[in-house]
Symmetry: C2
Subunit: 454 residues, 2 copies
């Protein structure tokens, strides 16, 4: 192993410029799933790259809007490892806030600035380059790699469940699923993420009349903002938090095992740093309680609300309708159907059944990988070889459709990689330049370590 590490170090040092340029080339092709801009070009580029450089067998699976790139790269034995990632990005607006064009991938100081640099085309290409480096050093992969690259992650991954269902037999006996992303929120402190909360993202709408009504009649009619506000205030107390017992009563989180990683969570994501980053004045809760709640409890949040008029001047109306969007995040053992049933019960109890429509946008469940899985140990060892000590994050407060791997395919999934980036979905999204050789190295060493997997 020692020798292999040396070879990899040497490889990334010698090829640093090439590696960075390859990542920049991918970042220079737009791939905005919301608008469709550059999706075709990106799919062609990646397909050709995987065929030419990795000798992969590539197939495209088209269910909803953008294809899933599914590639098999043959190895020495019949074992399989899934590499999951995404090639789509969020829109670039507001353009004027970028210090360099979002698809120029300009190098500014020690960073590459580009939409997708951090989330996650930078990591995707670095990971592919990691496989390539293994090839160049060892001529052959020890096992089969199954690349699953989706182009709809920013749209809620609508095609993934169908794809996993269709390829179930081929995927289900894989050793693990690896999702590469630059996990050092604080440089030098990588995270191994083992789970995600599930999500139900829905819209509640109250439509009372065809037109806005003169507000002098407000004593006589129902105001749709009052309906939506009442419903929201039955779900959340702004200071106490969620106030719906059914959201938590079935939750089996945190477990004793989860609690062992509380310090890892705290050190990897200090609350003060999060508050500073967003300019937050107050925290509803503090200390351990904050981490226990945010990471391990289910939640309900209002993402937006809109009704009537709040522009310049006076406009006094009973608005004809009001709309709000809510997201519920789910921990073990709460499922999307629990949330939808619970919400409908509240609407019925309040007598709002005829006054409120609920429209589900996204709904998928939580995911957790056991920290005792051997692949977690292997991931830690890879970091050790690189001189880094990773933190174990048993579940992230955010959502991703990881359950498809852990709960449908029943294989362990780890989301990790060294490197640092930021401003996902925002202007001047970036990764640090050294993220690229670090992910290349990490991937190569991971393949090497996994080759001994029994």
């Amino acid at each position: 192993m020692e020798e292999f590490i040396k070879k990899v170090k040497n490889y990334v040092e010698k090829n640093e410029k090439y590696l960075i340029n390859e990542v920049r080339s991918l970042l220079q092709i737009p791939s905005i799933s919301g608008t469709g801009e550059g999706i075709k070009e990106t799919v062609s580029y990646l397909t050709k790259w995987i065929k030419d450089k990795l000798n992969g067998e590539v197939n495209l699976f088209n269910y909803f809007k953008n294809p899933i790139i599914y590639a098999k790269i043959k190895g020495k034995n019949s074992k399989k490892v899934i590499f999951y990632n995404m090639y789509d990005v969020q829109p670039v607006e507001p353009l004027e806030s970028w210090e360099s064009p979002p698809f120029e991938a300009r190098i500014v100081g020690d960073k590459i600035i580009a939409r997708g640099a951090y989330n996650t085309k930078g990591a995707l290409m670095s990971c592919l380059l990691g496989i390539l480096s293994y090839f160049e050093l060892e001529n052959e992969l020890p096992f089969n790699i199954l690349l699953v690259l989706e182009g709809e992650e920013e749209l809620g991954s609508p095609s993934m469940p169908k794809f996993i269902e269709e390829k179930y037999e081929e995927l289900k006996d894989s050793i693990m699923c690896y999702f590469a992303f630059p996990s050092e929120r604080i440089i030098g402190k990588p995270m191994i993420v083992l789970g995600n909360k599930g999500i139900v993202f829905l819209e509640i709408k109250s439509k009372i009349s065809k037109y806005d009504i003169h507000s002098s009649f407000s004593r006589g009619f129902i105001n749709p903002v009052a309906v939506i506000s009442s419903l929201i205030s039955h779900l959340i107390d702004p200071i106490e938090g969620p106030k719906i017992p059914w959201l938590e009563e079935k939750a089996i989180s945190p477990t004793d095992e989860d609690l062992q990683y509380l310090n890892d969570i705290k050190e990897a994501s200090p609350l003060e740093e999060i508050m500073e980053m967003y300019g937050i004045k107050y925290s509803r809760i503090k200390g351990d309680e904050w981490y226990l709640s945010v990471y391990f409890k289910p939640t309900v949040n209002v993402d937006g609300i809109y009704s009537g008029y709040v522009g310049l001047g006076t406009k006094t109306i009973i608005p004809s309708e009001a709309i709000a969007r809510l997201d519920f995040r789910l921990v073990p053992a709460i499922e999307p159907k629990d949330v939808i049933e619970g919400l409908n019960k509240i609407i019925e109890r309040l007598g709002y059944k005829d006054l409120v429509e609920v429209k589900i946008h996204d709904a998928y469940t939580w995911s957790k990988t056991n920290p005792k899985e051997k692949v977690v140990e292997i991931s830690k060892e890879v970091y050790k070889e690189m001189g880094l000590k990773p933190y174990i994050i048993p579940i992230l407060p955010g959502s991703a459709p990881s359950y498809l791997f852990t709960r449908v395919l029943k294989i362990p999934m780890i989301a990790t990689a060294p490197g640092h980036g930021g401003r996902a979905h925002a202007p001047n999204e970036y990764i640090t330049l050294d993220t690229i050789p670090k992910i290349v190295m990490y991937t190569s060493i991971l393949i090497k370590k996994l080759s001994t997997f029994q």
Copy 2:
């Protein structure tokens, strides 16, 4: 009197085309107080018209944005009657919904279509033409008319209190204030409006952070929509109505006298017609209770709310701020300060003092004229001469700064005129063509009747 009525009838018949064209000429000049478009031209046009045709002494009073046109038209004796009206209108958007350009004042069938036709430049010019017709028939006014024409009514009349204060001595011994508007909501059923609710129009804002926060942290921070929703739901129950006892506990409304006019109110504005007009599905209350509440009780309404994102796609955030606008309508004896104090107490009681800012936009009090005032009898007599039976509306659920006349100057005020119009503030605002000669006649006869006022 009979002879005078004949002369007036004859006059409006002979001059019908001229009268309609004079009204159209004013409607063809834009006068949007929000944007300032055409205000100067309108003020010049009216100033010249009043000087040339009515021999009025015109002065402009500029306090805030657009001048108050104050004109004295001399009469035989020293008595005074105030004619109040407004020359400003609301913006015309959405332009594409107009069937003819908003400042063309096109005649379509039996209507004139124009912004301001109904609210209230059509009535203003018809009223001036009524004074002119009196001149032409009788050579001299019996008393002084004081024209108070403001250009900021759609902005909440910010200059009017100062103007009334400054001209207090000159205005306070007037016989009455007359505000002409086409009052036949149902054709053939004019209303004599004797009062208005007061209003407090304000904004509540909750700002929690500098940037929108990733919603996965929602369990740990305060959501500003939850703050605003909670506050709203402590003010209004969507089905039960206002739920703040302090809003009603001092109210002395309806009085026994008010209740005598319940039938007038019901017949002049049938609930079914209001629901039909706005496309309203449910009424919170019904029958007499609806009218008693809407006309005689104070109320609180949400005019608009805005926060976060409810556009296409998924965006899961804790919005950095939320804003809502509320209007409170006040009956005797509730004053704006009662509302503001009451609201601040709720905010304090809920523990939201550091979380909510309140910004008052408009605030003025209620107005009522005693139905036993002699001028009300005179107004009824004018209708009788025209073959119409008016309804007495002791107080409108809507607001207007009428208190300046009834409570500051302590003179009776009546808002009335024959004629019909609609779609105030909306596309295709209109008056029926016959509204113009009818208001001319009404105004002439009113001057004649008031000349005998003791």
